[in-house]
């Protein structure tokens, strides 16, 4: 391109100036573009060794010319003695090369002034220009024996907190070590261009011109460049500007080996590309294999096997975590689904089709994209037209023929409409909403409908395919590794980064902690190893007598209610509860109002408990009744679906469970454990997020109020939409401490909090936003009160799987689910956190998934062993299940509480219930 207009004149003027200035070094002829370009070119010649430019803010446009006229703002250049200056650019921190960028006349003018200033500052000095060789590597000077610049800091070591207690157990985890071949790796560089280039894509294209010399692969985000090879010191390259074709000098400064975190990012991208080479389709974060689809023809379903992978920095270095996953697809297109509906009900099939389609997530197989259906447009057909990206009117039929080579068969089908929200401009928070039309013939509904989920036959067939035993899962994993190592393209990709994927997952040694003993009022029961469930045959630890209670039922449930009343009296005496005859109250009609009227007239001050029989499960009635029993007239309530007691052979065991639940709701305790600390308080916290339209999140908080950990205090807090972080913990903790003092006569000196529902990205915020609130609440009790606080985050939905190895660790080991109580706290745990994995529950089908615990705050002197064992103990104390559960009981109680309030109550429950487990 040729310059034109005033820019050309100005450029010529500048060139003539330059020729006068450095006659010894003629400027190579260059071709500028436009006005601003001329200015940029004038700067080309100014890259000199030994000349520093102090970083300044970069004004642009007219303002810039003004700024430059003031000498204080103008780029100050001073000549330094060459011996003082290291050959690389000094990275002292404050000094940074910033080239003025301007546009238009003012920029030119500014450049002109700046040049004159330089001439004054360094008269007659014209340092030698670099030779015009394509590839110049400067020889490192003796001072540069370390090729890295001063800002290079070695990475901090991993946080290792290991326990020692328990029996050793060989396990395999689904992590794969990534080995780097000698002389390769990830090296970080900064890149400078002169003249400066602002456009990232231009910069990338110029780097690509030398990709061969840079090792063949790169990762560049516009600021930092990562290469697989190490170039010592400073390296310069001559590039051709992709648009102006002018000469640009690119200088690379090696900052040292890339941090492990950066490596993980690069490897993650690398594995995404490998997945594509292996023929896997990307859906969200997972990759699925359409060719391996398993058909379940009787239900017209398809299961796509897939993988989910993540490369992360762990204690044992950068590793690949990989798990097998599935996705359920319907094999019928949306068109077929609609036509089936139309056949069955030709009159108002449209209404039914809307019910099915609205909110459904559909997959379009031509591009494997997923969309949410928001509407059906019945008045449009594939022959309707739309304006495409070129601004041309085109029919859908033609569009699919041209772009995807798909011929739409049914010309009369309606179109599906999907609203796609996209943030157009990052500064503008309002999302741009676009309507996208989809062809039903080409769309396939993904996932299961509620009707399918309720159908046990479908679910049975599906779980057979979806649940993988440990050895099946291990097989899938090894096959994936085999595929990577056998695929030529992926091997090439890996080789470029010098990466080797090991053929087998890591083998580790985990520990199985000692089994607990369950304490009852009349003795203790030792749990045999390997079991996680037990049967309550003893007297309950703290039993509550039921003296005054009522049963509400409708006429048809009279017999069930009578049987329940008599059975309760019989069975509760075995468990140590005294139950007096209850009053049966007949509800006149099977209507919500009748139930509420009967309930209100029954609740009296002396009444302890009200049991309500529901003929069928209705959430609106449940919510109405719970609102009365938890807010309006606080009382312990138990809702029972009459159908559950309809089978007499099962009724006994169910009534026993209900009796235990009632005992808890009245403030009793079923069993206990030996607690090693004297004045301990355990807290749990979870947040319930309602559906998106409701705009409310409910935080549930529970805490024990006695050292035996049998009584529970609870509170709720309300937050905005999807607000995960609690802001009223000070009130909650203050209330819990007050309750503890009331119940036990002293404050706890050790507090352990289990926090559920925190993702990886929010760990830091839990530490910096929630923990200070807890610490403040201690301060409210006086400066001298400083209990030791430990905050543990529980994460249930994780990719990690652990398989225990039976027999020897051969190439084909026999794998099983690890025993409850298995702890893994090294190698595959996080690099920056004090964390561990614990398997507490027992799973008979499929693979058990361990729970990840991260200790985000710990100012106690508790050993990792103690935290791990206490966590395991806490999984025994959930009174709605006679066994261990996958998360500690406090977190599960908090979850139940938040769920009850978020789904049904929507309001603060009465504080008179706060010391009971009314939410079970």
């Amino acid at each position: 391109m040729l310059p034109s207009g005033r820019g050309l004149m100005m450029r010529k003027f500048l060139e003539s100036m330059q020729e006068q200035k450095d006659e010894a070094n003629p400027v190579p002829p260059e071709r500028p573009v436009g006005r601003g370009r001329a200015m940029l070119l004038s700067q080309t010649t100014e890259i000199e060794e030994g000349v520093k430019e102090i970083a300044i803010a970069r004004p642009s446009g007219r303002g810039r010319s003004l700024g430059l006229q003031a000498p204080s703002v103008a780029p100050v250049r001073r000549t330094m003695d060459p011996s003082e200056v290291p050959p690389g650019p000094s990275r002292g921190g404050s000094v940074e090369v910033a080239r003025p960028v301007g546009r238009g006349r003012s920029a030119l003018f500014a450049a002109f002034i700046a040049q004159n200033q330089q001439e004054n500052a360094s008269p007659g000095k014209s340092p030698p220009k670099e030779s015009r060789a394509e590839f110049v590597r400067k020889s490192p000077s003796p001072k540069m024996s370390i090729p890295y610049t001063s800002s290079y800091e070695p990475e901090p070591g991993p946080v290792i907190r290991k326990g020692t207690h328990g029996q050793m157990q060989d396990v395999v985890a689904n992590y794969i070590k990534l080995k780097v071949t000698q002389g390769k790796g990830v090296f970080e560089y900064t890149v400078e261009f002169s003249p400066a280039e602002d456009n990232i894509s231009m910069r990338t294209r110029m780097i690509n011109q030398h990709l061969e010399a840079l090792g063949g692969v790169k990762s560049y985000n516009g600021v930092r460049l990562f290469l697989s090879i190490q170039l010592n010191g400073v390296t310069s390259f001559k590039c051709t500007h992709p648009v102006s074709e002018s000469l640009v000098t690119m200088t690379l400064h090696c900052k040292g080996p890339g941090k492990e975190k950066d490596c993980a990012d690069i490897y993650n991208m690398l594995f995404r590309r490998i997945m594509a080479h292996l023929g896997l389709k990307n859906m969200g974060r997972k990759f699925f294999d359409p060719s391996g689809a398993i058909n379940i023809t009787q239900h017209r379903l398809e299961v796509w096997p897939g993988y989910v992978t993540a490369v992360q920095q762990y204690e044992g270095g950068v590793q690949l975590c990989c798990d097998a996953s599935h996705r359920v697809m319907r094999t019928d297109s949306v068109l077929k689904v609609i036509s089936i509906l139309a056949e069955a009900n030709p009159r108002n099939y449209r209404e039914e089709a809307m019910k099915v389609a609205l909110g459904a997530v559909v997959l379009t197989r031509y591009n494997n994209c997923v969309y949410r259906v928001d509407d059906i447009s019945w008045d449009r057909t594939p022959e309707s037209t739309f304006t495409n990206s070129d601004g041309r009117e085109i029919s859908f039929q033609e569009y699919y023929r041209v772009n995807y080579q798909i011929e739409i068969k049914d010309k009369d089908q309606p179109l599906l409409i999907s609203r796609v929200k996209r943030r157009k401009d990052p500064s503008n928070k309002e999302n741009e909403v676009r309507m996208i039309c989809l062809i039903p013939e080409l769309c396939y509904i993904t996932g299961l409908t509620d009707a399918m989920r309720a159908d046990w036959r479908i679910m049975k067939d599906l779980t057979q395919k979806l649940q993988l035993t440990p050895s099946q899962r291990y097989e899938r994993l090894s096959k994936f590794l085999e595929n990577i190592n056998n695929n030529k393209q992926s091997q090439e990709l890996l080789k470029k980064w010098g990466l080797q994927v090991e053929a087998l997952p890591v083998k580790l040694v985990a520990r199985v902690v000692k089994q607990e003993s369950i304490l009852y009022k009349d003795g203790k029961v030792d749990l045999p190893p390997g079991t996680s469930n037990w049967v309550v045959n003893n007297q309950l630890l703290v039993s509550k007598d039921i003296q005054n209670w009522a049963i509400l039922h409708i006429a048809q449930d009279t017999k069930v209610a009578q049987d329940f009343e008599s059975n309760m009296r019989k069975m509760c005496s075995q468990m140590g509860m005294k139950v007096y005859p209850g009053r049966l109250v007949k509800v006149s009609e099977n209507r919500n109002e009748s139930f509420l009227d009967a309930l209100r007239s029954t609740i009296a001050p002396q009444l302890q408990l009200v049991v309500i029989f529901f003929p069928s499960l209705r959430s609106d009635r449940y919510a109405a009744i719970k609102k009365v029993c938890c807010i309006e007239r606080p009382i312990t309530s138990q809702v029972i679906q009459s159908r559950t007691l309809s089978r007499p052979e099962k009724a006994r065991s169910i009534i026993k469970k209900i009796a235990m639940q009632i005992n808890c709701k009245l403030g009793g305790a079923l069993w206990g454990l030996a607690i090693p600390f004297e004045k301990l308080m355990v807290c749990g916290m979870d947040v319930y997020h309602g559906p998106a339209q409701k705009h409310v999140s409910v935080m549930g908080f529970v805490a024990t109020s006695d050292p035996q950990q049998t009584t529970w205090y609870s509170r709720v807090g309300f937050g905005g939409t999807n607000q995960e972080l609690a802001d009223n913990l000070r009130v909650c903790m203050g209330g819990a401490l007050k309750k503890y003092l009331e119940a036990s006569g002293f404050y706890p000196d050790r507090i352990i909090m289990f926090r559920d529902g925190v993702g990886d990205g929010q760990l830091k915020m839990t530490q910096e936003f929630e923990v200070p609130q807890l610490l403040q609440s201690f301060g409210d009790l006086g400066l001298s009160y400083k209990p030791k606080l430990t905050v543990v985050v529980c994460q249930k939905r994780i990719m990690t799987r652990i398989f225990s190895v039976q027999g020897n660790l051969g190439c084909n080991p026999r794998l099983q689910n690890p025993l409850p109580g298995t702890v893994l706290d090294h190698t595959v745990t996080r690099h920056d956190w004090y964390d561990f994995f614990l398997v507490s529950q027992c799973s008979n089908r499929g693979t058990v998934s361990p729970t990840h615990y991260v200790v985000v705050h710990d100012d106690g002197d508790i050993k990792p062993d103690h935290v791990q064992r206490l966590t395991y103990k806490m999984t025994h104390l959930y009174y709605n299940w006679t066994g261990t559960i996958s998360i500690p009981a406090p977190a599960q109680y908090a979850h139940r509480l938040a769920q009850l309030v978020g789904q049904h109550l929507h309001k603060d429950p009465s504080s008179s219930l706060s010391d009971k487990l009314y939410f079970l």
Binding site: D727, L729, G734, K738, Q773, D780
Partner: protein, 134 residues
Amino acid sequence: MNDNFVICPYDRNHIIDKMKLPYHLVKCEKNYPNIILEKCPYNYTHRFPAEEMPDHILSCSARPEEFELESIQKKEVKPEFEHSVHTINPQESSLVSNSNEISKNGFNHQKCIRPPVPCPRVLSVCGLKVNVQY
């Protein structure tokens, strides 16, 4: 602009999405070490200078019902303009709802009323009696 935006108590130029407020406060607290704001005992995102906190506690929307404020003698108050900008309750002052409360120069007049003589008072914070010092 709608109700989802609040003003950062550390820098009134920061207009923050309500959902992101906790993240922002953690950041701003670090970036403005010379601005020391008290945190409301009922909501950690309510932040005010120490002298305004008692007044905020009286009017805090997040105060649970059971925490009645005890033994507070309301002294005669003298209106005084506080030339501080860190007086905006981030939770309650969305730009729209507060437009009548904040005058043109951005100072919040209503919130700046404080008793003339500083004296310690006993407040019930979190249900516990706490001495609040001016």
